[in-house]
């Protein structure tokens, strides 16, 4: 299959623009982790996953679980650009009465598979979905995006055992490994390394990639699908705030929205990046 990498990179750029715009409009939210996850989420929604925005409940769709629910803006932008709802709805992020809650709620918004936001819970849900699909004989895959700080949650490792024990090979998890969490560097707050060795020891097939290299992302997702008998973990090395120089690698943009001035800088940089 020929992959149009340039098309995906352009989609990612558009998603980043929507992320900074909606966050500035909302006045709060998680900038850094939405931007670091953008290329991965773009590759899933615009290349790898089979899904139908006109029929969100389509039984044979692939599922995406955003375990790091605070990166809701990247999911909302991907859903809007896919056609699940009108782009104008992004302006309502975090506003009273909006289906775009601060963290994703599946009761409010078609396309959101499960409510997330409390870290550590998504991988279990993804395991359950993958088992349910397998039991029903549906040949669909489940993708789960985790944060690296999130790996400090014990439940992640319970789920890691489950995925391996039940040989859940229709499951592919991705760690958005941007090295930062609210209180600082992951290695200072609570060291999570070596991530790769841990998942290998838990019985997973593990790939480590550059999480901003679209070709590498696409290749890893393809290789994951070919892996039988065990789940796959893609450790995506990323940069927090990727795409906007003033946010990149800065922990203070974990849970802070861009100001109007920062938005202008961000838009200028992102628009200059047009292919």
């Amino acid at each position: 299959m020929v992959v149009d990498i340039e098309f995906l990179e352009e989609k990612a750029r558009q998603i980043r623009i929507e992320i900074v715009k909606m966050l500035t409009n909302a006045g709060s939210g998680h900038t850094g982790g939405s931007l670091s996850a953008t290329d991965i989420v773009t590759a899933l929604y615009f290349y790898k996953m089979k899904h139908n925005p006109k029929n969100p409940q389509w039984k044979e769709r692939d599922r995406f679980v955003l375990s790091k629910g605070h990166a809701a803006p990247v999911l909302y932008a991907a859903l809007a650009l896919s056609g699940y709802f009108d782009k104008s709805l992004l302006n309502s992020l975090r506003k009273l009465g909006s289906p775009l809650q601060g963290h994703p709620c599946c009761k409010n918004l078609p396309g959101v598979e499960v409510s997330t936001g409390s870290l550590g819970q998504g991988l279990s849900v993804a395991c359950g979905m993958a088992l349910g699909l397998r039991l029903s004989g549906i040949n669909s895959r489940v993708y789960c995006l985790l944060g690296d700080g999130e790996l400090q949650e014990g439940q992640v490792w319970e789920a890691a055992m489950t995925a391996s024990h039940y040989k859940i090979d229709n499951l592919c998890a991705v760690v958005d490994h941007n090295n930062l969490q609210i209180d600082g560097h992951c290695s200072d707050v609570m060291n999570i390394k070596p991530i790769e060795d841990k998942f290998i020891a838990f019985g997973w097939n593990v790939f480590t990639i550059d999480g901003h290299n679209m070709q590498e992302i696409v290749d890893a997702l393809e290789a994951a699908e070919k892996t039988k008998g065990k789940p796959t973990m893609i450790i995506a090395n990323t940069v927090k705030g990727k795409g906007v120089s003033i946010f990149e690698g800065k922990v203070q943009y974990h849970g802070v929205a861009p100001t109007q001035e920062e938005l202008e800088i961000a838009l200028k940089e992102l628009k200059n990046g047009k292919k």
Binding site: K107, G120, S124, V125, G128, G132, E158
Partner: protein, 327 residues
């Protein structure tokens, strides 16, 4: 989404009528029967399948049973995932671990997503016995009742338990069902039909009404018999459905009562007694006495001794009523 297809005709449950059985045993049997009829039913357990009685299902349907090991949080999350692909998962372990260890998973992932997960916990209450406080769930009903969208059921006997399992399967949405370890006396009449949100009034008393659930229904019935002989008009109601609570029945009871006594195998904080007090205070205030565990941990002992030790007996109900009417 609408109701799931009916999985089990009620007349097949009549085998449990008037049987003295532990509610967990009824669960194990009913689950297998329903599993035969509804292929969407799947079962999860956290290394306690012999105690929760889901082992019967595991043996009959090994492909639809998932032992999650000793990891309750993951079990609840996996159950939610299964539900979100159209399965009807029953997740079982002891009540304290199901509701305590995995409370936030139940709140965030199950209820906030309105996932169709049935949490059927055994070993609720003090009758766990010898294992002691760490294994005796005295707070589980409170913990589940406070979560929006959760249905909370505490069946009284074998016959009701089988019906509750069937109803939970037919209903779409999260349900918590609390079962016990000890054998319980049969109390529900043959023509009884359980409905979520409906109480069963055995008799409406003009002086006192005892509102109970679980094994305390049997104690309430014993107490009312003696009180009636003493000239106190005592009624009894089974409020197995703690949430939603039957407000119509409660109002009727409150209007007919000089005193309401609640009786439950649970802390007096947050459970049935609290639910009744909340409603009665706001809608038709009547004096209420709550019988239950009085804000303390349990301890080891035989279950019969423990029920006496903590005052979960017909004698204590009688004593409480007599004291009130002495004034």
């Amino acid at each position: 989404m609408g109701k799931n297809e009916c999985t089990c005709a009620l007349n097949e449950l009549s085998e449990f009528y008037s049987k003295e059985m532990a509610t967990r045993d009824v669960y194990g049997i009913t689950l297998v029967e329903m599993g035969k009829k509804n292929p969407d039913i799947v079962v999860l357990d956290a290394d306690l399948s012999c105690s929760t009685k889901t082992a019967k299902f595991a043996k009959t349907f090994p492909d639809r049973f998932f032992n999650m090991g000793i990891s309750e949080q993951d079990m609840i999350g996996v159950a939610a995932g299964l539900a979100l692909t159209g399965k009807i998962p029953f997740a079982s372990t002891f009540a304290i671990f199901a509701t305590g260890r995995a409370w936030e998973q139940i709140r965030q992932t199950v209820c906030y997503s309105n996932a169709n997960v049935k949490i059927v916990a055994t070993h609720g209450g003090i009758t766990v016995g010898e294992d002691g406080a760490t294994h005796q769930a005295l707070e589980d009903v409170a913990l589940m009742r406070v979560i929006p969208g959760m249905t909370v059921i505490v069946p009284a006997d074998a016959y009701e338990t089988a019906q509750v399992i069937v109803s939970a399967t037919e209903y779409y949405g999260p349900v918590y069902i609390r079962l016990g370890r000890a054998k319980v006396s049969p109390v529900m009449p043959e023509d009884y039909r359980f409905e979520i949100g409906k109480a069963h009034i055995f008799k409406l008393g003009k002086d006192v009404n005892i509102i109970a659930n679980g094994l305390m229904v049997a104690e309430a019935l014993k107490a009312s018999e003696i009180l009636n002989k003493e000239g106190i008009d005592a009624g009894v109601a089974n409020f197995s459905s703690v949430k939603p609570i039957d407000s119509e029945a409660l109002l009727k009871i409150a209007k007919s009562s000089k005193l309401i006594v609640t009786a439950e195998e649970h802390s007096i904080i947050g459970g049935l007694g609290s639910a009744v007090a909340e409603f009665v205070c706001e809608n038709h205030p009547v004096p209420i006495k709550r019988i239950g565990i009085k804000d303390t941990f349990g301890c080891s002992g035989s279950w019969k001794e423990l029920l006496k030790f903590y005052g979960l007996t017909s004698e204590n109900i009688i004593h409480t009523v007599r004291e009130f009417f002495k004034k």
